[in-house]
Symmetry: C2
Amino acid sequence: MNTMINKPKLAVIGIGYVGLPLAISLSNFYQVKAYDINKSRILSLKRNYDITGEFSSSDLKRGKFIDFTSNQADLFNTNIFFITVPTPIDKNNKPDLRNLIHATKLVARNLKKKSIVIYESTVFPGCTEEVCLPIIENISKYKLNKDFYLAYSPERINPGKSKYKLKNTVKVISASNQYSLKTINKIYKKICSKTHLAESIKIAEAAKIIENTQRDLNIALINELSIIFHKMDIDINKILNAASTKWNFIKFQPGLVGGHCIGVDPYYLTYKSKQLQYNPKVILSGRKINDSMGFYVAKKLTSFFKKKRKKLFKSKILVLGVAFKENCSDMRNSRIFDTINYLKKKGANVDVYDPLVPINFLKRKTKKYLVNLNTKNFYDAIIISVAHNEFSSMGIKKIKSMLKKDGLIFDLKSIFSKKETDWQL
Amino acid sequence: MNTMINKPKLAVIGIGYVGLPLAISLSNFYQVKAYDINKSRILSLKRNYDITGEFSSSDLKRGKFIDFTSNQADLFNTNIFFITVPTPIDKNNKPDLRNLIHATKLVARNLKKKSIVIYESTVFPGCTEEVCLPIIENISKYKLNKDFYLAYSPERINPGKSKYKLKNTVKVISASNQYSLKTINKIYKKICSKTHLAESIKIAEAAKIIENTQRDLNIALINELSIIFHKMDIDINKILNAASTKWNFIKFQPGLVGGHCIGVDPYYLTYKSKQLQYNPKVILSGRKINDSMGFYVAKKLTSFFKKKRKKLFKSKILVLGVAFKENCSDMRNSRIFDTINYLKKKGANVDVYDPLVPINFLKRKTKKYLVNLNTKNFYDAIIISVAHNEFSSMGIKKIKSMLKKDGLIFDLKSIFSKKETDWQL
């Protein structure tokens, strides 16, 4: 079997926030087919443009051994598949596995004997073996650990400007047998400085889910504390500063929890748990708070308008930042749209400005997006929703200049000093 | 006013887990009256015996400038009072402020002009100024910041063997004005390597509450995950090991949450929050899970008995450890008694062994406490409830020797390898 290890031919399926850095890293050591179903994404990447803004064109130009493709035929010679497709949730907060199943079928149709199929997408524990494996076996007619191998290694990509990249983040890996585990360990060790060999695929799946669930719940706690301390009229930031001086306190910030990971992954776990007749109360209470924060902000603004005897109807509101995270171009599941839609329903005119989110994407969400800021004394309220560096370097003065005299500044991420703003989360 | 700073006469009111280390530390620099209402506690301390086991008799012998007393008259010359009494909850999980109020009255009756009253007990935000201050002003007829000063510095004592002691833990301090803040800062800086000056008493009160609330909720999450992963038959310890390799994952362990802090403090916050018409869902969901874990363990044991066709009625069960925490003598609010009482109700004979908890205290909780372990092939089940060093060094072999052939080992803190036990939390 060692012939295969010596001639690994790699394909990465799904070239988004996870697949692109993986494919680029791997291409430093192997020939890599970077496949995506989205033809325009592939076209831009071929032209060295990454719409997610994670890689510059010079980064992309360096990739000699990477072949971006939407052509299934290019997968024909692959013997190691990495599946890095998004695993979102549907409207009922249940796992939407359509991308995963689609990618699995694609791989199964192109599967050669002795190949390894590695999943990196976040799933519920059991998904790889209970959902994906039967599809592969049915379509390919191959048997696991005889004709092919399965592996799971959860992605830990941190979008936006972060010091934690693929290279310096420990990679958890798991596989269907020792042979495939060793094989993928060799590959991952080239692109990650450290690997952790999990005892089973289920353990690796569960590890990923609980990482984001823990983060989600901790932010939910801080959001709940923010609500409570607003009622007591105590500044939560000062409380957090004091508490953080304890050796075991973990500093989280209040904020809107969106994106494709932290706000989504816990639902994968609660879905599976409910199937097993256990309704997770702690996890779901956290999800509920975090999913409600966009409305909470809108209601706070509404009550400020009432106090000032201003009307929301026909008011002019500017939202600075709609990405789900600071310095990131991704606005999937961004909760600020709950705020925006609530205010729109009340008749407010809401403009949106986010210099990082591509205009293509903005267009799909709202007609009222701005490409630059050049108004004066115009807005009744400005909501600073995300801590993009651009907003802090813009300065509160510039932001205030766009505001009417009696206008309100809502600084959800406490970018500016409390005195300079009317409300902070 | 500087005359007072130069001649501080200190009293610590409430000589328990918090007051004793504080009084001892202070006595290295000042003459300290260490007052407790409990005469037998004072008597033992005078005889250099600390029933909590935190200080050895030689530690106590060193305290030349400390005067243990139950005599109110000894407080007469005090100008700086530290109140370190317990603030528990009642049967309805509401704050039980009786000790706090009692101590406040005691101090108010003995208050001299220009004195500072410092609270270290954990309370809800607002308690010091809304509950304690009016009592002091009423009884003493003195006015705040004119005749006397108020301060709050939350205790961060970590009972049991811990590397974090008073000296190397940052001390958060707050006071009713700048003068008293400066004065107490000088004093605390002698016994703590670092102080953090909080902007108000409420902020310091809130900081303390959220530290323990965060810890409680994080353990609750891990307990909920433990329940879920037991249903999936995946080893949570292996999942935690894998997840912990991520740079921002915080490793907590499943377990029973008891004691006078983590299991109690969140209720102080939820009490105050409910008063303000906000019902804290996340915090209370965590409390609910943690308060239910003792029963969960009992039910698990019951189901194991059923599977083995053994009867709980007249069965013999040994519980190793009833302290709320490893290497600690304190068993206040220890949730293992939920397990014990459940099993007793089903007719089981439950013996209890804890080498750290003083026999006086054990006696009050159960008749069936052991002073040493010398049975062989005797128990139907042994529950290891706390990770006292003594149990791990005792070894699984010794523990198993006390068990009948078909007996069960429940290792709640995963002290031993999973294979050696029948169930781990």
